[in-house]
């Protein structure tokens, strides 16, 4: 099991929130080419097991870093801040809770497909903005601010999923 400090090292890239995904994937493929169990079929057991563990760690690193939310949570973890885990030590501010509650209410109250599209566009825009704010907070090392933004990103993504489920229901009603 990789210690959680190693993901960027494992993929041989510099820690950042704003990552070039194509370059990340290239690194991932390169590291798997060197470490995947398929390369070690005829090797001694010890060597094989070691490579399998490395390959699993590389998969975990790529899975974490390719996703903006998981990547942001991981960057906070490196600062000792747990966000989006079962032992979170960061609590959402009252302001954030109110904002999210209002957002969820507007999803629940959708009656017409036009409202759905309007809200979907609104959430997409908010999502894009949050990614920019998180990058800015990370660059300025404003950890508390970043933690609140990452919490918000998690809530927004959850709301977007719920909204998607709503569409199927609205579509069926229209028919």
């Amino acid at each position: 099991m990789a210690d959680f400090l190693e993901y960027f090292t494992l993929l041989d890239i510099l820690p950042a929130f704003d990552l070039d995904l194509a370059a990340l994937e290239e690194s991932y493929f390169r590291e798997q080419r060197n470490n995947h169990p398929d390369r070690f079929v005829n090797k001694p057991d010890a060597e094989r097991l070691e490579a399998a563990q490395r390959s699993a760690d590389i998969n975990m690193a790529y899975d974490t870093l390719k996703d903006p939310l998981k990547r942001a949570q991981y960057l906070l973890l490196l600062q000792g801040m747990f966000v989006g885990t079962d032992r979170d030590n960061v609590k959402p501010s009252q302001e954030l809770l109110t904002e999210i509650m209002e957002l969820r209410e507007s999803v629940a109250e959708i009656k017409h497909i036009d409202e759905w599209f309007a809200l979907s566009d609104e959430l997409d825009e908010l999502h894009g903005k949050l990614l920019n704010y998180i990058d800015a907070a990370y660059t300025k090392r404003q950890w508390d601010k970043m933690a609140q933004l990452v919490l918000k990103l998690g809530y927004v993504q959850k709301t977007m999923e719920d909204l998607k489920k709503q569409k199927a229901r609205l579509g069926k009603k229209a028919k």
Binding site: M1, F29, A52, S55, A56, M60, Y62, D63
Partner: protein, 622 residues
């Protein structure tokens, strides 16, 4: 013998290797073995010239076993003791196959030790693993015959959607058949490997694999030798066999027959007839069926209606895979069709509708999976620039309070993978912890597949919530799970014994291995004897034919000596002493050597003289 060199069809000798690695597609209805040299691979044909071996095993009352076409014939006639589609039973308990019960021409019984069910055939009990092992043994022998060397290692394909129990069962079957599994790879991934290398494909491809009994859809990104699976989904209880059953049910109701009045033999015949009708409707718009003294017509519209529910199920699975991969149908560059059931027109039409592009059918859908497996077997043993990055098809989790599933590894996670989760005690001084590992997407444990249960003991006495138990799930490149646990506060590592719920108990596996080793010795002796006899007879027939043709080259005394040796060899072949047969065959070869040389001289003489134009013309007129 120096009369003729006879090559088996499909023979591809590899130099400098005493044993070979093959690729095996162990299918529900058919199985195929292929062998690769370099990035070229070809399927191996058996002595009858067939590449597709029906996955049917027949257990005769006298204890002998038949595999392939002879067994299929018996199965089609509904004979007791023939087992078809055993793949559907791999790694399954009696509860899992309730829907199949009643349709099976053999009795299924609960395993006294729990776990996988057993089958009762002609007075004996076998497990699905043993039946699959017979098919694998047959394929191993076929490949060995074609290659002229031992086959000890294989890459075996499994449906991407096979769960842990079915994968483990497949690996057990290979061990019983005397094959070391280099890797279990997913069928769609194997197809993509064969297709991508063949066509130089780049971009995102969907592999739509509809076989006899299983359906898989995989979305892969193909890029400079990397075959990355983005998502996979499927249904292990959906395939062309369902189409056959639907047609058979239609035949029965249309002809006014009641299924419960028929014996298994009659039902077997109707299903075989239904299969023929299905094949006919892949080319034609209607089929006329003579059944039970009546003439029935099944047209495309009616056929489509019969199979529509199954195809719609497959389409839903495709949508799920796209959603999991966060892709839309428009992102998919091409859809590769795999499996014989993709020849059904409605399947092709619905796939075209969903993905908005004509599916690719230019690779043989029956052979592409075995070819991909062979390429991978070659790559694993000889080295390769290709890289297969696959995923786990179903989430893995643990049972928590109230019978709920807590997912530890989510479906479509890249493998190998290793994930640790921490648990704590809920009572003061709690010394043990029950751990129940399940696989599936459902919330309730009861709806998912139970993989293993074990008890973690020896937790130091601590107040509730203080002990920290770390459970680690590790999924290897074959998609197989191992679970380990340790208690972190005491630092003591706890070694745990995982008893698989559906795998074979260790003792049972050992007994089966012993049985199979004894049988293997017997099998090999028998096979060598049969081969010696066949070889002797072939040489005799060949010699007699050339003695008739070029008999004038022989003196009477020579002729008599050869005839004498022919009858000696014939007699030897009647017995079961292989060394004796071989010795007499060698003697015949020695005696006929001079004759062969004279025939060769004559043949060269004729060739040098050349043919007259007159002769050629005469021949043409004749």
């Amino acid at each position: 013998m120096n009369l003729l060199q006879i090559h088996e069809p499909g023979e591809t000798p590899l130099p400098h290797a005493s044993s070979a690695a093959v690729g095996i597609d162990l299918g529900t209805t058919h199985s195929v073995v292929a062998i690769a040299s370099g990035e070229m691979a070809e399927v191996v044909h058996n002595i009858h010239g067939h590449a597709l071996v029906p996955s049917v095993v027949y257990y005769a009352a006298d204890g002998s076993v038949e595999v392939g076409y002879p067994a299929k014939k018996r199965s089609d006639q509904g004979e007791k003791g023939a087992i078809a589609s055993v793949k559907r039973l791999m790694g399954r308990g009696l509860q899992d196959i309730k829907s199949l019960l009643g349709n099976l021409p053999y009795d299924v019984i609960e395993n006294s030790g729990g776990g996988m069910m057993r089958l009762k055939v002609n007075g004996r009990e076998v497990s699905p693993v043993e039946v699959s092992a017979e098919i694998l043994k047959y394929l191993k022998h076929t490949a060995e015959k074609a290659l002229g060397k031992d086959v000890t290692q294989a890459v075996i394909t499994v449906p991407a959607y096979f769960d842990d129990a079915a994968r483990a069962a497949t690996k057990d079957a290979a061990r019983l058949a005397g094959l070391e599994v280099l890797r279990l790879i997913n069928e769609p991934t194997a197809a993509a490997l064969a297709y991508g290398l063949d066509k130089g494909a780049q971009g995102i491809y969907a592999i739509f694999d509809l076989g006899g009994g299983t359906f898989d859809i995989s979305l892969l990104k193909l890029e400079q030798g990397v075959f990355q699976v983005l998502a996979t989904a499927g249904d292990t209880m959906l395939g062309g066999d369902d189409f056959d059953q639907a047609i058979a049910a239609w035949l029965l109701s249309s002809s006014g027959m009641a299924e419960d009045k028929l014996n298994p033999g009659e039902i077997g015949k109707i299903v075989a007839l239904a299969r023929e009708v299905k094949h006919e409707l892949s080319d034609k718009d209607s089929a006329i069926i003579a059944y039970n003294g009546q003439s029935l017509t099944l047209d495309r519209t009616m056929f489509d209606e019969l199979i529509m529910p199954y195809i719609e199920k497959a389409m839903e699975v495709c949508e799920q895979a796209l959603a999991d991969a966060k892709l839309s149908a428009a992102n998919v560059k091409g859809v590769v069709m795999v499996g014989g059931s993709t020849r059904v027109k409605l399947v092709q039409e619905r796939v075209k509708e969903l993905f908005g592009k004509t599916p690719l059918t230019d690779v043989n859908p029956d052979e592409v999976v075995a070819i991909g497996a062979a390429i991978q077997a070659h790559g694993l043993t000889q080295g390769s620039d290709n890289l297969l990055l696959d995923v786990i098809p179903l989430s893995l989790g643990l049972e928590t309070m109230g019978g709920l599933t807590e997912k530890v590894i989510y479906r479509n996670t890249a493998i190998p993978t290793s994930v640790a989760q921490e648990f704590t005690t809920y009572q003061d001084g709690q010394a043990g912890m029950q751990i129940h590992v399940v696989q599936g997407e459902r919330e309730m444990v009861a709806h998912n597949r139970s993989l293993a249960r074990f008890e973690l003991s020896g937790i130091p006495p601590l107040p509730a919530g203080i002990a920290r138990v770390q459970v680690t799930f590790t999924v290897d490149a074959d998609g197989l799970l191992t679970v380990s646990a340790k208690e972190k506060t005491s630092g003591a590592q706890q070694s745990i014994h995982v008893k698989p719920s559906y795998g074979l108990p260790v003792e049972q596996m050992e007994r089966m291995l012993l049985d199979s080793m004894e049988n293997a010795r017997k099998d090999i002796t028998e096979r060598l004897l049969v081969e010696a006899r066949v070889e002797a007879e072939r040489n005799i027939v060949e010699l007699e034919s050339v003695m008739k043709k070029d008999g004038d080259l022989l003196e009477e005394a020579e002729k008599a000596r050869l005839n004498r040796q022919i009858s000696v060899l014939r007699n030897a072949a009647l017995g079961s002493d292989r060394d004796y047969i071989d010795a007499e065959a060698q003697e015949l070869g020695r005696l006929s050597q001079n004759f062969a040389e004279r025939r060769m001289d004559r043949a060269i003489g004729v060739a040098l003289k050349g043919a007259h134009i007159d002769n050629l013309e005469t021949k043409n007129h004749a």
